[in-house]
């Protein structure tokens, strides 16, 4: 049987394909489901063995994620009177009171600023560079393109120490600007190459028609090329965002107090009040949301972007 048959697949083949897809889906989705479920378990349920599939959901993990708590004496508790809010009630079970907010919200915001900031820069710079490489006679074009690609030939973390020293000298350590610049620098090669491919596919005649129609080169770029490149820009943006959002190593190394992003923060929850797995899982679950929303918003473009070359030709 050839691997490339044009005939209708047999029932057995369909079953096989279905089973494979389901198997793959289970393998990828299971950890995700486990994280989401753990976020809603009580600490006892979270470490129960054998693992509990059916459990009583609680928001304890989320409360612990967003707050810091202190243990107080029974007298103090009595003085405070009965808990007034649902989250107070959860905390009081353990003879604790809420001392204040945790730093998770702050770290989450840092992730958003740095992730979207670097994605935005990557797209602006990447589109401009890709357009120039695609349309103009740039001296040493091929060498420059190869150089840009070569920056990704080793894992970025290989240059962690020089970057660390450089950041310290420049005062970029633990700053939002520093992290945005770093992620932009790392992602830019991907963005230039991807976008150049997309812009190459757009016939140059569209811009020439706009030039003839009385528009300037910039207007032609802005009004004719950009709308055509929208799918490419959307898919490139998703790739850039996912990288910057998930990046862990540089974030551990270069941020601490002010610009720390969520990935290095989430594991630190473990140290604060014992091994609080529900809080860690809650942090991870919330951390997934922005990228998921962003991807879902752009999914139409992403799909078209991936099939771009195949469909057009």
């Amino acid at each position: 049987m050839s691997s490339y048959s044009v005939t209708e697949p047999s029932l057995r083949q369909k079953w096989m394909a279905g089973i494979l897809v389901i198997l793959y889906a289970v393998i990828t989705i299971l950890p995700l489901l486990w994280i989401i479920a753990t976020g809603f378990k009580s600490p006892a349920d979270a470490i129960a063995y054998p693992p509990k599939v059916v459990f009583e959901p609680t928001l304890e993990g989320y409360v612990n994620l967003f707050t810091t708590r202190t243990r107080v004496t029974e007298e103090t508790l009595a003085e405070l009177g009965p808990p007034t809010t649902w989250y107070d009630r959860i905390v009081r079970q353990y003879d604790m009171i809420i001392a204040g907010p945790s730093r998770y919200g702050e770290r989450f915001l840092n992730s958003i600023i740095i992730g979207f900031g670097s994605t935005f820069l990557c797209i602006i710079l990447g589109t401009a560079a890709a357009y120039a490489f695609s349309r103009f006679r740039v001296p040493l074009k091929d060498d420059l393109l190869f150089f840009i690609l070569s920056t990704r030939m080793m894992p970025p973390i290989a240059v962690a120490i020089p970057i660390f020293l450089m950041f310290r000298t420049l005062g970029l350590n633990d700053t939002h600007a520093g992290m945005i610049l770093l992620y932009t620098a790392v992602n830019l090669s991907l963005s230039v190459w991807l976008l150049k491919g997309f812009i190459d596919e757009i016939p140059v005649e569209y811009e020439e028609a706009a030039l003839i129609d009385g528009y300037t080169r910039f207007q032609a770029f802005y009004k004719v090329v950009l709308p055509q490149a929208a799918t490419g820009i959307a898919s490139t943006a998703i790739f850039c965002l996912i990288f910057a959002w998930n990046e862990y190593a540089f974030a551990v190394l270069l941020t601490s107090g002010t610009a720390q992003t969520a990935p290095p923060f989430i594991p630190t929850i473990i140290g604060v009040g014992g091994q609080d797995w529900p809080a860690v899982a809650a942090g991870a679950t919330l951390f997934l949301v922005p990228v998921m929303v962003f991807t879902i918003l752009l999914r139409k473009h992403l799909l078209r972007g991936i099939t771009f070359g195949a469909v057009r030709k």
Binding site: A210, D213, Q228
Partner: protein
């Protein structure tokens, strides 16, 4: 609307010279064809006139203004691309309005103008459709609409019929020509199809290897080619060359081909060495008693005429004769050339020798 003058226009891409010092003039209102094989520099010439390429040297004048180094947007011209290049993210109406919007024309005026143009082209019913689903012909009409809506000084068209199927080309060619006659605008049209050029053009420039070989009205170019390239590029089948070694003196009116003496128009130039006698297939008659002899090797029936291929001592010759004449393959027959129509060429230079007959055409081309 505009006279366009090209002066010593030259374009180099790195080491490759696409256009070498071309000069010609396109008069106001002419339908002007740039004709040549692919890679001959005709499209580059057109793009330099439009401002899509900047010339390496030379100048383009539109109505006397030197525009060679100006961007396309400042030349007030319209360009129709081979692939139409309709903006894919806009509907038909917006495509046609786009050049007007760049001038900042008021919306109601734009609407009226687009309506008017759509009327002329017969596309009022598709104005609000996206351009994606249009047929080739409709795309072509929309592209024309976008070109004429602004009433530019000149239209430049780069093989605008190249993307259409053969059946439809004929029809669009007529439509284009009718449109031109109605608008009276100077039109420069690039094509590699000599029939299209002859059918539509008021004047033709023939280019090859970046050089202008000849320019003039279609009939002059067909009858009195200036070079062997033009003679062989135009006409189907092309002009026959009877190659011989010999000499021609100024003032002679006959040449000797083997035993036969063939009358030619009175020569003004003398030449010797490798020469060729150029004769169009339709200017050959097959006469049994003509002194120049050949052997029939093939006959192609074309309806009203037939093409007879003959072997002669000076190479293969194709003759176009009425199809009712019976010709036996393998028969030997005499060839009679119409003396008034013959051109002598110098093979090394590839150029036509001046005679009383072609002097008028060649001296201004």
């Amino acid at each position: 609307m505009a006279q366009i003058r090209i002066e010593s226009l030259r374009k180099e891409f790195g080491a490759f010279t696409a256009v070498q010092s071309s000069s010609f003039t396109i008069e106001d209102g002419e339908f002007f064809m740039l004709l040549g094989p692919s890679g001959c520099g005709k499209t580059t010439t057109l793009r330099m006139m439009a401002g899509l390429e900047l010339p390496t040297a030379g100048e383009v004048f539109i109505d006397g203004d030197a525009v060679g180094q100006k961007p396309a947007s400042q030349r007030d011209i319209a360009f129709v691309f081979q692939m139409f290049a309709l903006y894919p993210h806009m509907n038909v109406r917006r495509n046609i309005s786009y050049p007007l919007l760049s001038q900042g024309m008021a919306r109601p005026q734009v609407r009226a103008k687009v309506g008017e143009v759509a009327e002329i082209l017969g596309i009022t019913d598709i104005l609000d459709r996206p351009v994606g689903g249009l047929s080739g012909g409709d795309r072509q009409r929309v592209a024309l609409g976008r070109a004429i809506v602004r009433e530019p000084r000149a239209f430049f068209m780069d093989e605008p019929l190249g993307a259409l199927d053969a059946e439809f080309r004929e029809h669009m060619a007529e439509e284009l020509r009718a449109l031109h006659d109605r608008m009276g605008a100077t039109t420069v049209y690039v094509t590699h199809d000599q029939l299209e050029a002859m059918q539509m053009g008021d004047k033709i420039v023939v280019m090859n290897h970046g050089v202008v070989e000849q320019f003039g009205v279609p009939q002059d170019i067909y009858d009195w080619p200036a070079t062997m390239f033009v003679a062989s590029f135009i006409g189907s089948p092309p002009m026959n060359f009877l190659r011989f070694d010999g000499m021609v003196g100024a003032g002679t009116d006959q040449v000797s081909l083997g035993e036969a003496t063939i009358p030619v128009p009175t020569q003004r130039d003398g030449a010797h060495g490798k020469l060729a006698l150029g004769v169009r297939p339709e200017h050959i008659r097959l006469l049994d008693d003509a002194p120049y002899r050949g052997e029939v090797v093939a006959a192609e029936y074309l309806g009203t005429t037939q093409i007879i291929t003959l072997n002669t001592p000076h190479g293969e010759v194709k003759a176009r004769i009425p199809s009712d004449r019976k010709v036996q393959i393998g028969a030997r027959t005499g060839l009679d050339f119409d003396a008034r129509t013959l051109t002598l060429f110098e093979c090394d230079k590839g150029r036509a020798l001046l005679s009383d007959a072609n002097a008028k055409v060649l001296s201004n081309g």
